[in-house]
């Protein structure tokens, strides 16, 4: 276990309101070395807040983040920095995360210098498949895919154990996305990195993940091995998301939009009572409007927060 989040919560105050916006509530996750935990969900589900809390850009309101067995909230100074360095983040837009006036080589060298590491720029470029000559280029002289490779090289310069990838391939053109995905898989397997791969695109999450967590309105509603979660989803929300993955068969694909899920994601500042998904859920019963379902292990390593799924699992077991 390299990274463990326990009961994470994150509140943001809302001006003029006594009730805060609860961006994360009771999120517990674990990540092993060499493993990819996929996080999927729509806007307002808390996936980007989770990324920022895991990497230390935000302090959680409740709960803890442990890295390599150490509770990060109890560390400070050099020890905290040394641990934080091992969790790096790659953002969606490499344009925004690279300084336009800084050459690629200088951007990577800066990371090495700040952390007093003895990595080499040309080796880091080679790891992400870029020739040494790219060190002299500016970000605007690169294509979108090359810029994302540079962002990854910069993250790798810090010698991380964990990469938090927040929509890291979402802005790339289709023909470029495949090569960055393949690069990520290769680096993970060669370096034994742990990934938290966050995306709204379930087909990319499916492609790379060992396990998948589905989030809705700040909570994990389903969690398990990728093939169980997508092959045999327990939560009706996961079932709906599954139909958003494009299949390369037009007849099957056109049936995917026959029965779209109704409604929209509610305002996270005023989430519905009971199960947060109940207003959109095709299976909702009266209990769903009244009680919030707990995230329970219903099958081996496969958890869901759904009253109906829990009852069905109990009936099968009996």
């Amino acid at each position: 276990m390299i990274l463990r989040a326990t009961d994470l919560g994150k509140d943001y105050p809302i001006r003029g309101s006594r009730r805060p916006l609860r961006a994360l509530a009771g999120v517990s996750l674990e990540l092993d070395r060499g493993e990819t935990l996929g996080i999927v969900g729509e806007s307002g589900c808390g996936k980007s807040t989770l990324a920022r809390v895991l990497v230390g850009l935000e302090r959680p309101t409740t709960g803890t983040v442990e890295f390599d067995g150490a509770d990060l909230s109890r560390l400070s100074g050099a020890r905290l920095r040394a641990h934080r360095r091992r969790i790096q983040m790659v953002f969606q837009d490499p344009y925004a995360s690279l300084d336009p006036r800084q050459r690629v080589g200088a951007a990577i060298a800066e990371v090495l210098r700040v952390h007093r590491l003895d990595g080499r720029v040309d080796e880091l470029l080679a790891m992400v498949g870029l020739a040494p000559a790219y060190a002299a280029r500016y970000p605007h002289e690169l294509s979108g895919g090359q810029r994302q490779r540079v962002s990854i090289a910069r993250a790798l310069a810090a010698e991380p154990a964990v990469l938090i990838l927040d929509e890291a391939v979402s802005a790339l053109d289709v023909s470029v996305r495949a090569e960055v995905m393949n690069l990520l898989v290769r680096l993970r397997d060669e370096l034994g990195l742990g990934y938290v791969f966050i995306s709204h695109d379930l087909s990319m999450v499916r492609h790379i993940s060992t396990r998948i967590a589905v989030m809705y309105l700040g909570r994990v509603v389903e969690l398990g091995p990728w093939d169980s979660v997508l092959g045999d989803p327990l939560h009706p929300y996961t079932d709906a998301l599954r139909l958003t993955m494009p299949v390369p068969d037009p007849e099957l694909a056109s049936r995917q939009i026959d029965v779209p899920i109704r409604g929209e994601v509610p305002n996270p500042a005023a989430p519905p009572g009971g199960c947060p998904f109940h207003p959109r859920c095709p299976l909702a019963e009266s209990v769903c409007r009244e009680q919030r379902p707990h995230l329970l292990e219903l099958h081996d390593g496969h958890l869901a927060a759904c009253h109906v799924a829990a009852r069905r699992a109990a009936a099968t077991a009996a």
Binding site: S143, D173, V185, P250, I257, E264
Partner: protein, 324 residues
Amino acid sequence: MSEALLEVRDLEVGLDRRRGVPIVRQVSFDVAPGEAVGIVGETGSGKTLSMLAVMGLLPPTVRRTGGQIRFEGLDLGALRPRELRRLRGRELAMVYQDPATSLNPLMTIGDQIEEALSAHGVRRAQARPRVHEALAQVGIPDPERTARAYPHQFSGGMRQRAMIATALVLSPKLLIADEPTTALDVTIQQQILALVRRLQDETGMAIVWITHDLGVVARLVDRVVVMYAGHVVEQAPTRELFRRPQHPYTAGLLASLPNPLDPSRPPLAQIAGTPPDATQAPAGCPFHDRCPQAIERCVSERPPLTARAGGSAAACWVPPGEWR
């Protein structure tokens, strides 16, 4: 296809300030009445500019430098601006990716739809009921109340529904949609696709859906036009395109998508290199420098779009039977 609703022939669009450096070249395709056509391409492929040229709404830095656009046989290039304006909205309408920038933030949703009606001579007394009808048609609840709301009071999905209501209020024969679901959440995207398909069934309008997303294409359209670096490289019925792609670029795009039906999750197929800047498209076939099938001829000679089996057409010197 002699009964085309829209006929685009050898369309060329060029940069105005650089003596018409072409960025869209020899683009030809038809749209039949009631048909749904997808125009697929990556950034810079010219897919949006081609359709803005059809609408007569090209940005000031570019202009149409050649070709013909006919709508119901009428040459749009020969129309006066006033005549073209009358046609837009009534006969052809367009919705954009970002409804936040195409809706007026200072006007209520209802007033904006009403404005579209009055611009085309519908009287105020008759307009309001049609506004409410249009909002109800796109699945916006409580139309009488929501018509009085401002765009910022709407969610992204509701704004896109309102955009579609505005576009459809005059019952156009052709709706051009430029990635209108790209910025939306995936479940809302499904809803909008289902909505558009229902409206198409109900009204019999034709659709041109501009997208980079082959998933959208597979779900919604009858026929696909694939663009690359300002050129049409393939045209095919949707089913043919997915089963038997005729151009190596199309084949590469399809192979680069993860297949959710494949439990083995093989590495994704990559297309070498990066998409070119259309103003600097290489000589010969625009795809030759990235193409795994390229032969010597591809470097020097541009392949024309030629008919293939199954109703497809492709611009490639190397037929799939000879692919390595």
